[in-house]
Structures are given as structure tokens and as C-alpha cells.
């Protein structure tokens, strides 16, 4: 959306627990492929968007 609506991180998907922390649910993938697959499933289920932080971590952000 183009509007300035407040966005929220709904979930975090990572392959390395040392990179992440905080309030949102964290999903751990065994490898890059699994992380991407989890991110894709979550984004479908939550009708939201998967963004890559380009260090193997994905965040699912509400629209």
C-alpha cells in the first residue's frame, strides 16, 4: 500500500538464532531454502509481505 499506515512485524524467520531476538514470533529454518519456504507460507497465511534482510533472515510485515 502506498499510504502511511503503521506497519508491524508479525514474524521473523531465520537460519541463525544469534541474529534475531525480541517480541515477534521467531521461526528457525535449517537452511536457506527452508527459511524461504517458511517465509512464503507465513506470508500467505498472514496475507502479509515477506521482506528479506539479506542475511538469511526474513521478516513478515503486516500491510
Amino acid at each position: 500500500m502506498t499510504g502511511p499506515e503503521a506497519k508491524k512485524i508479525l514474524a521473523v524467520v531465520t537460519g541463525d538464532m544469534r541474529l534475531v531476538g525480541g517480541g515477534a514470533p521467531i521461526f528457525l529454518g535449517r537452511d536457506e531454502g527452508e527459511c524461504e519456504q517458511i517465509a512464503a507460507s507465513l506470508s500467505r497465511v498472514l496475507d502479509s509481505m515477506a521482506h528479506s534482510l539479506e542475511n538469511g533472515t526474513y521478516i513478515i510485515v503486516s500491510q
Binding site: 502506498t2 524461504e36 517465509a39 506470508s43 500467505r44 515477506a50 521482506h51 528479506s52 500491510q63
Partner: protein
């Protein structure tokens, strides 16, 4: 008495004609539905009847009767509220949102059109009083022409150049030429966008145009128009495929990326060009001295 009747009939008929001329039902103009059309023609009838009755009321003379025009104005403001509310309710389920600027623009247009109808019928009934039917006919034609010029309005194509642009990814950043649009995390979606998306670049012709397309509401209106005309490959669970417009921070040019059902660059460019310039987005920095100086110094008029 016959005179009054003639005035009222002439005024009402011309008012309804004006409403019909203004009631352009097309892809973007709500209402696009038979019932909406009926509602608006009926309101136009009421507006024109009120307008044409005002003059006989003054002639009679019954000056206080004119105060009902104020009542009518109140009524039409309510129509604007109603129109806005309906569109806002529908907005929740739009895949590509109109944006509140567009909604406000449509609502305001409907209110204003009723005033225009009232003005038409009032003037025509005055004309009938002085010159009978010929004068009324001339006045009707004049007002219809005036309404048509008001309806035309400016479009994006008038104030901007629309050019084809390239799509690329830098890591997961989607870019249209050099303009970063958004971060697309999933490879599958990146491939889909690379394969199926179209991109355009909107280059403003001057500082006034730049300030128009700077407006976020205006950008949403462009995306909505393009998506409505070409169709859109997006569903509720794929927000990645929402058409987005982002600007080049330095030049004020816009980049837009969209996944249309019909992949046709020419059609997309036409769709973008025919998006109306919203009243709320319109601003004219060049008509102030400060704006002109800034534009001249930066060589961007």
C-alpha cells in the same frame, strides 16, 4: 401563472439536461451501476426543481421562500457525506485502494455537480422570464458548454511525460530504473515480477506537476486507475504484487511497477496518462514568488 409554470418547466428541464451531461459513467466514475445512476438523476431533478422555483418565488414576491435554497445546500452536503461513506466502506475490499484523496475528490464532485445543476436551472428560468423560449434555449446551451469544460479536468498526461522503464533487482530491492520501489523477500515472487511486470516512469513537466505527483493520494489514484483498466495479478495473500509508485528523491520523477493481467506497455501508458489530477493534490508553487525563484535557481521550471 402560465409565465411561472413556463419558467419552472424550462429551468427543470435544463437542469436535468445538465445533470445528464455531467453524469459520465465510466471505469473510474462512481456510480457505474444503474441504481446509482437513478439516484443521481433523481437528485439532479430535485436540485433543478429547487433552482427553477427560486426565481418565480422572488417575482411573486415571496423573498423568504428563497431560504429553501440554503436547505438544499445542506441536503447536498449530506450527499457528499453519503457518497464518501459508501466509497470508504467499499475501500476495505479493494485490492488496489483508491485512497482517501480520490474518494474525497469523487464526493466533492458529486456535491458540486448538484450546485451546478441548480445554477443552470435558476439562470435558465431567469432567461425564460426575460426572453421566453429562445433565451432559455441559449442559456441552456451556454451552461451545458460550461459544464462540459468543468467536467473535462486535467489528467496526468497533460502535466507529465509517461515513459517505459526497466525493472531490475538489487539483492531483494525491486527497482524501476534507478528508483527503489520495495523489498521483495521471496525468490519466487522476484522471478514472477521480473517475468510479468511492466514499469513506467512518470516525468513531471515543471514544478507544478512535480508537486502534484508528489502527493501520495495522487499516486494511489494512478495505481488504482492502471489496475482497474488493465486488470491486476494480485490477490489478498500476495501483497508483493500491489502496484506501487515511488519517487526519485532528487528529481521528483516517479517509478511505477505493476503486474497487469494484460501485459501491454502502450495500454499501461495510456491508462496512467488518463488518470485525473486530483483536486486535493493540485498545487501551484510556481504562482508564488518563492516558488518561481526556487525553480529558476535550480533550472527546473
Amino acid at each position: 401563472m402560465d409565465d411561472y409554470l413556463g419558467m419552472i418547466i424550462a429551468g427543470t428541464v435544463s437542469g436535468i439536461l445538465a445533470r445528464l451531461v455531467l453524469l459520465k459513467v465510466d471505469y473510474r466514475q462512481y456510480p457505474g451501476y444503474p441504481h446509482g445512476t437513478v439516484a443521481h438523476i433523481s437528485l439532479g431533478f430535485i436540485a433543478s426543481a429547487l433552482g427553477s422555483v427560486a426565481v418565480p418565488a422572488i417575482l411573486k414576491p415571496d423573498f423568504t421562500a428563497v431560504t429553501f435554497l440554503a436547505l438544499a445546500a445542506q441536503q447536498f452536503r449530506e450527499i457528499r457525506g453519503m457518497e464518501r461513506k459508501t466509497l470508504e466502506n467499499l475501500e476495505k475490499y479493494e485490492l488496489v485502494k483508491r485512497g482517501s484523496d480520490y474518494i474525497e475528490g469523487i464526493a466533492r464532485t458529486f456535491e458540486a455537480r448538484n450546485y451546478l445543476v441548480m445554477a443552470t436551472s435558476m439562470s435558465v428560468s431567469v432567461a425564460y422570464y426575460f426572453g421566453k423560449l429562445p433565451a432559455a434555449a441559449v442559456m441552456t446551451v451556454l451552461f451545458l458548454a460550461f459544464s462540459l469544460t468543468l467536467k473535462a479536468g486535467e489528467t496526468i498526461g497533460d502535466i507529465c511525460e509517461v515513459l517505459p522503464a526497466g525493472i531490475s533487482f538489487q539483492g531483494s530491492q525491486l527497482k524501476v530504473d534507478e528508483i527503489v520501489i520495495m523489498n521483495v523477500g521471496l525468490r519466487e515472487m522476484r522471478d514472477k515480477i521480473l517475468k510479468e511486470a511492466l514499469a513506467v516512469r512518470i516525468r513531471p513537466k515543471g514544478a507544478n506537476a512535480r508537486s502534484v505527483i508528489n502527493d501520495v493520494g495522487q499516486r494511489m489514484a494512478i495505481a488504482h486507475t492502471a489496475a482497474t483498466i488493465l486488470g491486476i495479478k494480485k490477490d489478498i495473500d500476495t501483497p508483493e504484487l500491489t502496484p506501487l509508485l515511488r519517487k526519485n528523491l532528487d528529481t521528483g520523477e516517479l517509478g511505477m511497477c505493476i503486474l497487469p493481467v494484460i501485459k501491454d506497455m502502450e495500454a499501461l501508458m495510456l491508462a496512467v496518462k488518463r488518470t485525473p489530477v486530483l483536486e486535493s493534490a493540485r498545487s501551484k508553487p510556481l504562482s508564488t514568488e518563492a516558488g518561481r525563484i526556487a525553480a529558476l535557481k535550480n533550472d527546473r521550471t
